[in-house]
Amino acid sequence: MSVRNTLKAKWLWYSVFCLACWAPFTFCAKLGLREMSASGMQFLFTLGGVPIALAVLAARRFKFERNRKGTAYGLAVGVLSAIGTLALFAAYRTGGNTAVITTATSLYPMVTVVLAVGFLRERLTLIQIVGLVFASVAFVLFSL
């Protein structure tokens, strides 16, 4: 695909928009946590997400797929994400370096990749193994 075509692609701009949302989120969290507790931040963070859920529901005319398995897995995504986010806020609250904590916690795909081997019977690719090595080196360096 040529550069011109790529620049016209919607997905590229959605991806850029995603980056433009997640980076400022980190700064909002860190700056807010200078004053409030991790649980206080989690409480407000959740309320801030409600308009997005309502907008997504409204765009779908409040139709929701009735699938028990899908709903259970989706709820598990929410509950585990919430636990992770609360721990992230607690990590920021310790006063550790924001750039280091953000990059260290963004390494969660390493856990997904390893678990996928066990639970989804996926195989590790060579690229993923190299990625795991880089991640391990990073954690050793962060512990110094």
Binding site: W11, F45, A135, F142
Partner: protein
């Protein structure tokens, strides 16, 4: 070895979000990405009674309240954009590593906005992490 205080919390983040990756795959096998996003927020709402900060909520400054609310809004808006990128024809093998680079933006802006600096081992670690994130999401 003396580990930094944030290390244990980061381990919880990695395990929780790492398992999320598995459930996300399983969920989207049965329901749409949009429904998964709604359930994600419902999952967060289940914790609200537990994390309610009590009267402290009314003592936070307006600025801190705004940071919390805007942070939640932006994070979920970003999640929506990620789903939208995938649904509008973006290959997961390109979109996932690209959006996983958001810490790079944080690394570049942190000295300016938060006035924080990193040590040399931390800087090399950040570099290794960024390479790892891209390789793992390919």
């Amino acid at each position: 070895m003396h580990l930094p205080p944030w290390y244990l919390y980061a381990a919880i983040v990695l395990i929780a979000w790492g398992v999320v990756g598995i459930f996300q795959k399983l969920a989207t096998n049965h329901i749409s990405a949009g429904s998964t996003l709604v359930l994600l927020i419902v999952g967060f709402l289940l914790f609200e009674p537990l994390v309610y900060p009590g009267s402290a909520l009314f003592h936070y400054s307006a600025r801190a309240l705004a940071y919390g609310l805007i942070g939640g809004f932006l994070n979920n808006l970003g999640a929506w954009a990620l789903f939208a990128a995938m649904e509008s024809g973006g290959k997961a093998s390109i979109v996932a590593p690209f959006t996983a680079l958001y810490p790079l933006v944080v690394v570049l802006l942190a000295p300016l906005i938060l006035h924080e600096s990193v040590t040399l081992p931390q800087a090399i670690g950040v570099g290794c992490s960024l390479v790892a994130v891209v390789l793992l999401s390919l």
